[in-house]
């Protein structure tokens, strides 16, 4: 059991966390803790040890040049008291006592169940991108990218750059909404540039709107024992017409949801699934700040600005933080439009059939869950949400499908070896 005493602790080394670290380091000693082997979070995930994004590289270099301490491969799972977090590292338990905390835990993908979604070969959209960045070859693989959100475009673009055959992008929102969103980008020249770059890179990839996956399947006949059944085709529906497409991989995710578990465990106020913060990114607890996606999904620019504001405000640089409020408003506007554009349509609630698994950890099917009125009862009777993912995957799905409030969070917020408790 080791212990560190830290002036400003930042949990999460992605865009918001790194931005916060640099801002705070002007006035205080800063430590970043991240559960990944390298800095960058999800959007700037390292590829074989290095992030490709020039913007990310600049931040990482800047961080290296200050005295900012980085602790990688460390997962926060619990707390000893209001100002002390417990983490699991490769060397065992590490306690982190802090004066100020900035929560920059980012977001995860929303997954919705549909028949066949548990087949090997079905990945998240960001999931497949993460694996590709972790070294997975997608060269020559036929891939369908599906779900919702601008992430689909970014993923399709990335996969194409790795010589995958991106067969189609299947987007559930309507083309009218996408067009309105695109028109609204006029406020942000950099976003327009990004959009144009994506558009041209994906010129030859069909972008189906008002479309979604109705099932993933393995249609090949049962082979000998020991051969894993995996995905070989998906079925898409658009305006009532279905089509089955052969493919090697499906990269499917329905936009993002905030990782609020750490904030909730600490007792920060959470409203509508996001961490409540004031203008200075301060949570309901005085010495805890929060920046980036946990305060509301709003994209990279928002994360960077919010991180900077949090880092400045947490270290008493209030004038400097206030100077950024205008920029943040612009970024927030984009975020708001983003979430409205890609809001989930009702038809997606009916994708799962009776046998479709909703809780993947405990294999609880849709029909077993339908009869319950809230998560707690469903959990106690079926074990839904009691597996190692602790409801991270099924909780959001159940909220969308049944309207249940997600379960409360309790330490450990990640599974941890008994000896590290």
């Amino acid at each position: 059991m080791s212990k560190l005493t830290i002036e400003v602790l930042i949990v999460g080394g992605g865009a918001a966390g790194m931005s916060a670290a640099l801002a705070a380091s002007q006035n205080a000693s800063v430590t970043i803790v991240d559960d990944n082997p390298f800095l960058g979070g999800q959007i700037w995930r390292a590829e074989l040890g290095n992030t490709k994004s020039p913007e990310a590289q600049k931040l990482i270099a800047a961080i290296a040049s200050k005295q900012i301490k980085i602790i990688n491969n460390a997962q926060v799972f619990g707390l000893n008291n209001a100002n002390s977090l417990l983490t699991e590292t490769t060397d065992g338990q590490l306690e982190l006592k802090f004066e100020k905390l900035i929560i920059a835990t980012g977001a995860r993908e929303l997954f919705l169940p549909f028949p066949g979604w548990t087949l090997p070969g079905v990945f998240g959209a960001g999931g497949l991108q993460a694996l590709a960045k972790g070294g997975m070859s997608v060269k020559g693989k036929r891939i369908v990218v599906a779900g919702t959100g601008p992430l689909l475009l970014a993923v399709a673009d990335y996969l194409k750059s790795k010589e995958a055959i991106v067969i189609a992008i299947v987007e559930q929102t309507s083309s009218a909404k996408i067009n309105r969103f695109a028109l609204g980008l006029w406020r942000s020249p950099s976003k327009i540039r990004q959009a144009i770059a994506l558009r041209s890179g994906l010129r030859d990839v069909p972008y189906l709107t008002d479309s979604w996956i109705t099932s993933a399947q393995c249609r090949s006949p049962r082979e000998s024992k020991g051969v894993t059944r995996k995905l070989d085709s998906i079925t898409v529906i658009k305006k009532g017409i279905t089509k089955t497409i052969d493919c090697d991989y499906l990269a499917c995710g329905f936009h993002l949801i905030p990782n609020t578990e750490l904030a909730e465990m600490l007792g920060c106020k959470i409203e509508n699934g996001t961490v409540t913060v004031d203008d200075y990114q301060q949570t309901s607890i005085d010495n805890i700040f929060c920046a980036g996606e946990p305060t509301g999904i709003a994209g990279l620019e928002s994360s960077l600005i919010e991180g900077k504001i949090a880092g400045l405000a947490a270290t008493g640089q209030l004038d400097a933080s206030r100077a950024l409020f205008g920029q943040r408003d612009n970024a927030a506007y984009f975020g708001d439009k983003l979430n409205k554009t890609f809001a989930l349509r009702d038809e997606l609630r009916k994708l799962a059939d009776a046998e479709t698994i909703v809780c993947r950890c405990e294999d609880v099917s849709f029909q077993r869950l339908e009869e319950f009125n809230d998560f707690r009862d469903a959990k106690l009777q079926t074990r839904c949400g009691m597996g190692p993912c602790q409801g991270r995957i099924c909780g959001a799905a159940a909220q969308f499908l049944f309207g249940w409030e997600p379960p409360n969070v309790r330490p450990p917020i990640f599974p941890v070896k008994m000896e590290n408790l």
């Binding site: 559960d35 990944n36 082997p37 999800q42 390292a46 590829e47 074989l48 040890g49 290095n50 995860r108 993908e109 997954f111 548990t118 087949l119 090997p120 070969g121 079905v122 990945f123 998240g124 960001g126 999931g127 497949l128 991108q129 993460a130 694996l131 972790g134 070294g135 997975m136 070859s137 060269k139 790795k162 010589e163 894993t228 059944r229 995996k230 698994i357 993947r360 950890c361 405990e362 294999d363 597996g387 190692p388 993912c389 991270r392 995957i393 599974p415």
Partner: protein, 94 residues
Amino acid sequence: MCRIYRHEDSPNIDNVIALKINNNSISVDDGTTVAVAILAAGVSQFRHSVSGESRGPLCGMGVCFECRVTIDRVAHQRSCSIIAQDGMEVVTDE
């Protein structure tokens, strides 16, 4: 049998990690995750679900727990979040 798996952008022929997946030797670039090494070895079933379904990675970022395998005799490790190291012995569910 030792198989070399290269990521197309692999920078350096010397930075290669040798590990075992279900007793088969495989080599991957330094920085490759264990999950990717498993997939590169041709294994798509990482684990059996509670009702016996074959499962593999989904989220790629350590929150879904579908990529759990046994590494060096410690079970239930999230392979998508662990960088492959020389000499690792990885076992997936049969």
